[in-house]
């Protein structure tokens, strides 16, 4: 019997699992894969929290401001490189445009646009899905007072590969940058840039090296040697495109933290159903065990509490059948809020279908939207499984997932 069984290994699930384990609970996390961290830009968006809290039924309205702040601090404790400010900070997208974000690695935070300086965009040879000219143009437009130049860097490991016209993914480059070999190659390159600028007498102006997906974060001192902290020039890291190196290393780091805290992990397992019954005193039901399909075998996992973090539409926790005749939550078969109107004609507009999810009370216990009563008293719904929000247009994906995952762990 576990104190908590977490279903789903995306951001909300990991945060819930790690926090519960940290609180000394016996926790099992069951997941099919790494979830949507594969698409993680490296930045946590919180959005306009005050405004969103006032939206009826928005997940933020379930939490006290204090809990939201605690969740943020929890991320910073996990990842000391992450910084936050009262006002949103800005970072570069992979296109070299500027996007806002609330909690991001220190090395991603953009310098002041009012200042003057020079960016040197360091372009790894053959980096896939990266467009140096576009980035340089966009940087120049976004930072009118800054000069932009481009320098290419080649590492021996990929030389033959790129000569044949093959691209190198940013995950492959990140693994090089995180190795000793890559660190020294970067160090040499950056020193050369510095010497070059001194030679032409630019030493006095501010020089910043821009690099796509360096991924200096998520080092786990018990397993690997951390990234060199200082280069001879400041290095500005760009946020990730997919497949995301930030997502890859972050997911691995979360897994290690969870295991190191004594959490138990079951990967490649799909939760398919539950066994539970009404507790005697009321009509409210308690879930006793989770049925999991693991490599063709059914396993029955008993828990006191269950946390549902299966990632909504994108994560696969909510399945919509052909012609929308069936819309189901796949583990507990929870009742779902389904908007009447399904989509908007403009693709980048807030989409009604994004609001689909489970309505809950303040303990994140699932409610029946028809009658408003709690369906399972020992089930807590987190992250993208919650109803009434749109992470992409409200820009609060990280915020809601971290806060709900953290808050659920506090209830265990």
């Amino acid at each position: 019997m576990w104190d908590a069984v977490v279903v789903g290994g995306g951001l909300a699930g990991w945060i819930a699992g790690i926090r519960a384990a940290q609180r000394g609970k016996k926790v099992l996390l069951v997941t099919e894969g790494v979830g949507t961290l594969f698409y993680f830009s490296g930045i946590f968006d919180y959005g306009d929290v005050e405004r969103l809290c006032r939206l009826p039924k928005h997940p933020y309205s379930l939490f006290k401001a204090q809990v939201i702040a605690q969740g943020k601090r929890f991320i910073q404790e996990l990842c000391p490189e992450y910084v936050t400010k009262d006002v949103p900070q800005s970072a570069l997208t992979v296109l070299g445009t500027v996007r806002q974000g609330d909690l991001m690695p220190r090395s991603m935070v953009l310098p002041n646009r009012q200042e003057q300086g020079k960016f040197v965009l360091l372009v790894p040879e053959g980096l896939k899905d990266f467009f140096p000219e576009i980035v340089a143009d966009n940087l120049a437009r976004e930072f009118p007072g800054w000069q932009v130049s481009v320098k290419r860097i080649q590492v021996a490991a990929f030389a033959e590969w790129t000569r044949l016209g093959k691209g190198v993914t940013s995950i492959d480059y990140a693994s090089i940058w995180r190795s000793e070999e890559g660190q020294s190659a970067l160090t040499r390159e950056i020193e050369e840039i510095q010497r070059g600028s001194q030679a032409v007498g630019e030493a006095s102006s501010k020089l910043v090296v821009v690099l796509p997906s360096l991924v200096r974060e998520y080092f786990d001192s018990s397993r690997s040697k951390p990234c060199k902290h200082e280069f001879s020039l400041p290095v500005l890291e760009m946020s990730s495109f997919v497949p995301s190196p930030h997502g890859r290393y972050f997911a691995e780091y979360l897994k290690h933290r969870f295991i190191d805290l004594g959490g138990e992990l079951m990967i490649g397992a799909r939760a398919v159903g539950i066994n539970g019954e009404s507790s005697s005193e009321s009509r409210v039901k308690a879930c006793q065990e989770l049925v999991v399909d693991s490599m063709g075998k059914s396993l029955y996992l008993k828990g006191k509490e269950f946390i549902l973090a299966t990632g909504g539409l994108l994560g696969g926790g909510i399945k919509v059948g052909i012609a929308r005749k069936t819309i189901r939550e796949g583990v507990f078969d929870l009742p779902l809020f389904v908007p009447e109107k399904w989509s908007e004609p403009q693709f980048l507009a807030p989409q009604p279908f994004a609001q689909i999810g489970v309505e809950t009370d303040e303990l994140m216990c699932p409610l029946d939207p028809a009658g408003g009563q709690v369906v399972w008293e020992n089930v807590h719904v987190v992250g993208r499984m919650l109803a009434h929000w749109d992470p992409w247009t409200q820009r609060c994906g990280g915020g809601v997932s971290v806060t709900s995952g953290y808050a659920a762990a506090e209830l265990i």
Partner: protein, 539 residues
């Protein structure tokens, strides 16, 4: 105002129009084709992409069946690179009418359509998704045809013989002098310039827009605008065209195209020539009828829905008021005879399979008027020359066989230039579109074409955004090339939005299952990872 003199103006850049342009050009008659949008933006790309064997018409319309099988053979010869010779099956189910089966076999024999029965066990082995309700299966020479490719090959061939065309050039009015049509006035939509084109003959080949064209001079052409909706599945479910062996109806044709399958159609009369909206009812209805041929249809992901308008000719004796009852044959309307207005001919009705024949008839008529004795050569002269074997070898060495073959099939005689570019810059061999294996070099090549004005035009030329990702990744990957072609960043972002909007229009009618999940991913990529501004909701 720009003044242009020519012999013939062809209105409409669909299959019929480009076919006429090519035929005129091969006969040495100077001609200018005017198209309001991009080539093939209407019916010629909004269909199932089936090159009929004639089997579908074998019972009801022997003339159409005969025309189809003859043209089918001709097109397989002159446009081999636009056609995949898949063959097609007519599948007879337990519940279907055996009398119709007998009539069909007889009809095919009369029309000269070769029919060969496939033992059902063999059929289930070759096409595992085929319903087990099938009791008899017959093979006919159906094939699949790429409308975009076919049209572009026609204009490129016409250009070699002196033909000219202008896209995004909308006819504003017919130019009349003393009750005779002596040309047209048109607006170049990209520059706003007005063109005054003088010609001896104006050919109205505007498909669903034909009535609008002649109405400019108060004339009438009776066509029915018959909307057909289609679904695109994200897999090649079959390797052959699958038809149901029963009187032609809705939802009874599956056509494999590259990595996807197109399934249709429906038939409703509509008012507007560009009413391409697919409603929920159409989709539900198609799915329900499709299950008759594929029992497990619900398990397959639908990536989009689209619709086209069939411009059916309504002859005076057409009494039947159902879309499929009106003749699929075509008619040439001489407005001198019909309305007393000389210099104007309308070509209406028909289908893509018979586009060349329609063009031949029109061109014969035009040639007779202009007293040009040259005979038609479009049935013999291939549209394009095959690339040299050296080009194939080199492309395969550079890209690998799979990608090279797909590129050569797409580009044909234009492939040489792209292969040279690849040899110089191997990194341009990276894919922009992984679904359809389109390289950066190929996209750059297409962007050099003066007829490419937008990302959406590029899509029609390269199939970018038409594979299973529906533009999510390939739009992003085309960014540097778009910026170079279109200039500013603002314009590039706008092009992104237009293409994503166009794709979204096709996705929303089938927004569920894996396609919904994919759409959520696309929203995450554009709004979060790439930091695009969210649009305001309309409410």
């Amino acid at each position: 105002m720009r003044q242009i003199d020519t012999q013939v103006v062809v209105i409409g850049g669909g299959a019929t129009g480009v076919g006429i342009l090519r035929d005129l050009s091969l006969r040495g008659i100077p001609a200018l084709l005017l198209e309001q949008g991009d080539l093939a933006h209407g019916t010629s790309s909004r269909f199932h992409g089936l090159l009929h064997s004639g089997g579908r018409y074998a019972v009801k319309d022997d003339k159409a069946a005969q025309e189809c099988i003859e043209e089918n053979k001709i097109l397989k010869h002159i446009a081999a690179h636009c056609i995949e010779d898949t063959s097609g099956w007519f599948v007879f189910l337990k519940e279907d009418d055996p009398n119709y089966l007998q009539l069909w076999i007889k009809g095919c024999a009369q029309a000269g359509i070769l029919v060969e029965e496939v033992p059902v066990e063999e059929a289930f082995r070759l096409e595992p998704l085929l319903t087990r309700q099938a009791t008899r299966v017959f093979e006919v020479p159906d094939a699949t045809v790429d409308g975009f490719k076919l049209l572009w090959a026609n204009v490129k061939s016409a250009e070699k013989f002196g033909g000219t065309f202008r896209t995004y050039c909308k006819v504003q009015s017919l130019w009349l002098e003393e009750g005779q049509v002596v040309g047209v006035y048109a607006e170049d939509l990209s520059t706003g310039e007005i063109l005054q084109v003088r010609s001896k003959i104006v050919v109205n080949a505007a498909g669903p827009w034909s009535s609008e064209i002649v109405a400019m001079s108060g004339l009438d052409v009776h066509i029915q605008k018959d909307k057909g909706a289609l679904l695109v599945f994200n897999q090649r479910m079959f390797n052959r065209v699958i038809n149901r062996l029963r009187p032609p109806g809705d939802g009874d044709i599956f056509v494999p195209h590259e990595t996807v399958t197109i399934f249709g159609t429906t038939s409703h009369w509509v008012e507007l020539p560009d009413d391409h909206q697919v409603d929920d009812q159409d989709v539900k209805y198609l799915i329900a009828t499709g299950r008759d041929l594929v029992e497990e249809l619900d398990q397959h992901r639908i990536v989009r829905a689209f619709a086209g308008i069939r411009p059916l000719y309504e002859s005076v004796d057409a009494l039947d008021h159902e879309g499929r009852g009106v003749s699929r044959n075509f008619a040439l309307i001489d407005h001198e005879k019909k309305d007393g207005v000389g210099g104007l001919v309308s070509i209406v009705g028909g289908k893509l399979t018979t586009y060349r024949l329609m063009a031949e008839k029109v061109t014969d008529w035009v040639a007779a008027k202009l007293k040009v004795p040259t005979k038609c050569r479009t049935a013999e002269e291939p549209l394009q020359n095959d690339p040299a074997p050296e080009v194939w070898d080199k492309a395969r060495r550079l890209l690998g066989a799979a990608a090279a073959d797909k590129m050569l099939e797409r580009l044909n005689e234009q492939a040489g230039a792209v292969v040279e570019t690849l040899a110089r810059q191997p990194l341009l061999g990276q894919f922009v579109c992984e679904c359809e294996m389109v390289t950066q070099a190929e996209v750059l090549h297409a962007l050099q074409d003066p007829a490419v004005h937008s990302l959406d035009d590029l899509r029609r030329q390269t199939r970018l955004g038409m594979g299973t990702c529906q533009g999510t990744y390939c739009t992003y990957r085309a960014t540097p090339m778009l910026q170079e072609a279109f200039g500013s960043w603002e314009r590039t972002v706008k092009e992104y939005q237009i293409l994503l909007g166009e794709r979204w229009r096709g996705i929303t009618p089938v927004l569920w299952g894996e396609q919904l999940r994919e759409s959520e991913l696309a929203r995450a990529l554009f709004l979060n990872v790439l930091g695009f501004e969210a649009a305001e909701s309309e409410e």
